[in-house]
């Protein structure tokens, strides 16, 4: 004789084994399963048939788990992944956890968000540049302002060049374009030249300019930002900050 309660308990164990471990999520899925079973029984199916169809309909435990993992991947986990990926690009491997400043890590996170905002399934130089503009702690908006460039203009120039992608919020982690990788390598070089122990926003900004061929460099060039002046303004800005503190 088919026992619904036993079958549901068994199904929960299967979900748990596949990695759906959050009891709230399991409760919600169980509530759904019970609704579906009841509905099917009302339409004339036996309890067992109803249960089996409902389980089929709700989806494979492993597939569900991977979707929940994507939805639940918090800021912390994503930052960790970005950081690991970044360090590999510039030829360092963790254990060099301090190679990026906190604000530079924030930039890469913001760049990821910008890419998703455009529905792009890659992170390009334009997204990193927008990330630099959005950062509250970074020096880049201040430096641009000193060079007479309005941050909002940079954004509108970028939006003129790139369009929205067709993808609906890709859930996987987005890859960097080769130009971004190159720019990050160059940022590492800038930090070393300036004898900085870690790579900050300002180095990433210079890296984007030095890379030269990406959307970021193109837009900055259009707005009259050149590498020499940018280096100068950054040094001035950093020097002033040191005096202030």
């Amino acid at each position: 004789m088919f026992n619904l309660e036993q079958a549901i308990a068994e199904w929960r164990r299967h979900m748990l084994a596949a990695g759906v471990e959050n009891p709230n999520v399991l409760d919600e899925l169980e509530s759904h399963l019970r609704d579906d079973v009841e509905q099917r029984k009302r339409l004339g199916a036996s309890t067992q048939e109803s249960f089996e169809s409902a389980v089929q309909r709700i989806g494979q435990p492993a597939a569900l788990e991977s979707e929940f993992a994507k939805a639940g991947a918090g800021r912390g986990a994503r930052l960790q992944r970005l950081k690991g990926a970044f360090l590999r690009f510039i030829g360092l491997t963790p254990p060099y956890p301090n190679a990026l400043t906190a604000s530079a890590r924030e930039i890469l996170e913001l760049g990821d968000k910008e890419a998703r905002g455009f529905h792009h399934d890659f992170i390009g130089t334009e997204h990193v540049l927008l990330g630099l503009l959005e950062s509250k702690t970074g020096v880049v908006p201040a430096v641009l302002q000193r060079m007479g460039v309005d941050s909002r203009l940079v954004r509108s120039e970028i939006e003129k060049i790139v369009g929205n992608g067709p993808m609906a919020r890709p859930g996987h982690s987005l890859p960097y374009t080769p130009r971004v990788k190159k720019a990050l390598q160059l940022a590492g070089g800038e930090a070393r030249v300036l004898k900085q122990p870690r790579i900050g926003c300002e180095h990433i900004f210079l890296g984007l300019l030095l890379e030269g061929g990406g959307v970021a460099a193109l837009v900055l060039k259009t707005l009259g930002v050149n590498i020499g002046a940018a280096r100068e303004q950054i040094l001035l800005h950093l020097g002033r900050k040191e005096r202030d503190t």
Binding site: V25, S31, G59, L64, A168
Partner: protein, 115 residues
């Protein structure tokens, strides 16, 4: 991720959030009811793999468009109800403009054409 024997996968995926936001703008609801409603309104042509709706709901809640609460019914069964908030209404407004634009461009192009 989705059953897409009728409507293409990407289109179903892209329309999930606007559909959820639109349904919730009519009142609080729970996952099973949302799925049934979409199936009914689309004449069974939009079919989600049921369980896949929940990660989407959780992501939308994390984004800050919707919120949820557990409600216990008279027979002791619990259901998680979702409702739309202010940011969700704004997101819906944005999405509605986008979908309306796409729809009107296509309608304009297809006017007078017979397929």
């Amino acid at each position: 991720m989705y059953d897409f024997d009728m409507i293409e996968r990407e289109l179903v995926a892209a329309s999930t959030e606007p559909l959820i936001l639109s349904l919730l703008s009519k009142g609080e609801s729970y996952g099973y009811e949302l799925i049934q409603e979409v199936r009914r309104l689309s004449g069974d042509k939009i079919k989600w793999t049921d369980g896949m709706l929940y990660p989407v709901l959780h992501r939308m809640e994390a984004t800050g468009w919707i919120q949820s609460r557990w409600v216990e019914s008279e027979n002791g069964r619990k259901r998680k109800y979702y409702s739309i908030n202010k940011d969700g209404h704004q997101a819906l407004k944005d999405k509605r403009e986008q979908w309306t634009l796409i729809s009107s461009v296509l309608s304009g192009l297809w006017k007078g054409q017979h397929v």
